[in-house]
Amino acid sequence: MNAPDTSADPLVAVENLHTYYGKSHILHGVSLTVGKGEVVGLLGRNGVGKSTTLKTIMGLVAPNQGTITLETKSITGMPAHKVAKLGIGYVPEDRRIFRLLTVMENLRTGLDRPGVTEARKHELLEKVFAYFPVLGERRNQAGGTLSGGEQQMLAIARAMMLEPKIILLDEPTEGLMPRMVSQIRQIIDVLHNEGVAILLVEQNVPLTLEASQRIYIMEKGMIRHHAAASELKVGDAVIKQYLGV
């Protein structure tokens, strides 16, 4: 493993994570860190445990062993709603927008938090409608009636409503047309520039290498390779070995 320098004071630190689904051992001691404002890519073939890693960090799946810390505070085994309140946003692989809720109501699920003033709510909405104008136009439309790309925008915008310190982004470009992919790529940059850290799970290797500062590569529930994104290229042997591309 070619480990680059990582922050001594990471935003999220995962240490020796073991997760099971029933009797199936999915994560075999995953360890990774994400620094403040950093974009970290998590690559690997289908079924290696990338999404399970995100779900475990989010508190949607309880780990059997290992620790997860957010700014040195342990969030291991904490319920997801408390993890979200501490500043971790989650955009799942299949978007999982609330299909019968309007765009505005979807956003309100993250916006209607204690301590958020009306003025701040207004600011946050203005911001996402500026990034995603189509959501502003369709604010009263049911989420289920949006196109796949629009649903992905809504899923990201909804996570942004939590004003998270980090967003766990699970395959955001899956099944999207190229124009939408470049829009998602831009929004990753925007979030990065705003200081929001991102843990990005992707099958799109070029996009991940471009958007991320560091890359972890997973295989069989373990981190097999860790490198600065600038040190990796699409045709590299390590990429071919673990991703087959």
Partner: protein, 298 residues
């Protein structure tokens, strides 16, 4: 043609209008009970077999508060609040520990609570039905019948409670949390929605709606420890016919089934008219198991 004309000539139009009114009144009460039941099922996947007993408990609370204060309206409000509180405690102590277990365990748990409540009511109040006096006793003439205003008030109040509940679900912060949790519990949690609290609140609201319907309907039927049984059975039929967890569907199904029963009672004995509900239930399960009032998936 001649037989159709003969049927129309002999058709009891006056009775038909009276039965339409009766069907709507019963339908609104049933809608109020079923709304609570479908809310609880929709949000927690819990088939609450104790829902009829929450209806009965509301009616008995109404009896007690009415006897103490003499105010029907205070009885309605206090019974609703107290049974809501009881519902919250019941959810926290009985159902919350069963989250994630086999659904059969929640069925058995709520069935157990239903038996306890029924027998407790029998022990405390005895087998003789208690009476809740109507808040007013005026009538108006409807053809050959003196129709009590109170029946219309029941329908109106039930509609008002359901309407207020709809507005709460549609526009309230907590209402949006409830709808989000009903659609995707996991994602709701990931958005910071405190799902266990939402479950408890939804159960309390469902219990409160059952209690309110118990107090409202008490003056018409008398209050006894088994009064919830018939109603919860009908409410289950309504929830299935309306589409499990579909609030709007349950309201439409409650009115639909009550009207069918009321019309059937024009030609057959009212106790036989109940069969209509079961026929609708069986036909729904056979031909449209997702519910009659659920939009066809595209």
């Amino acid at each position: 043609m001649a037989s159709i004309l003969a049927f129309l000539q002999n058709f009891p139009f006056e009775l038909f209008i009276i039965q339409t009114l009766n069907g709507i009144v019963t339908g609104m009460i049933l809608a109020l009970i079923a709304s609570g039941l479908t809310l609880i099922f929709g949000i927690m996947d819990v088939v609450n077999f104790a829902h009829g007993e929450l209806f009965m408990l509301g009616a008995y609370m109404g009896v007690i508060v009415l006897a103490t204060t003499g105010s029907f309206w205070l009885a309605l409000i206090l019974a609703t609040l107290l049974v809501s509180l009881f519902g919250a405690v019941m959810q926290i102590t009985t159902l919350r520990p069963l989250v994630g277990r086999d659904p059969l365990t929640t069925i058995l748990a709520t069935f157990g609570v239903s038996l306890i409540l029924q027998n407790y009511a029998l022990w405390q109040f005895g087998p003789v039905a208690r009476k809740i006096n109507e808040p007013f006793t005026g009538h108006f003439n409807l053809f050959y019948l003196e129709y009590p205003y109170y029946r219309l008030v029941i329908a109106g109040l039930s509609a008002a409670i359901i309407g207020a509940f709809w507005l709460f679900l549609k526009y309230g912060k907590f209402g949006i949390w409830i709808r989000a949790t009903m659609q995707d519990r996991v994602m709701a949690q990931a958005m910071g929605i405190p799902v266990p609290l939402v479950h408890t609140a939804a159960f309390a609201i469902g219990a409160g709606m059952a209690a309110a319907s118990g107090v409202l309907f008490g003056p018409l039927v008398g209050v006894n420890h088994t009064m919830g049984l018939d109603w919860v059975l009908k409410a289950f039929i309504v929830v299935v016919v309306g589409g499990m967890g579909n609030l709007g569907g349950s309201i439409l199904a409650a009115i639909f089934i009550s009207l069918l029963e009321a019309y059937a009672a024009i030609w057959v004995n009212p106790s036989q008219a109940v069969i209509v509900s079961f026929v609708v239930l069986i036909l729904t399960l056979l031909f449209r198991p997702t519910g009659l009032f659920v939009p066809t998936p595209k």
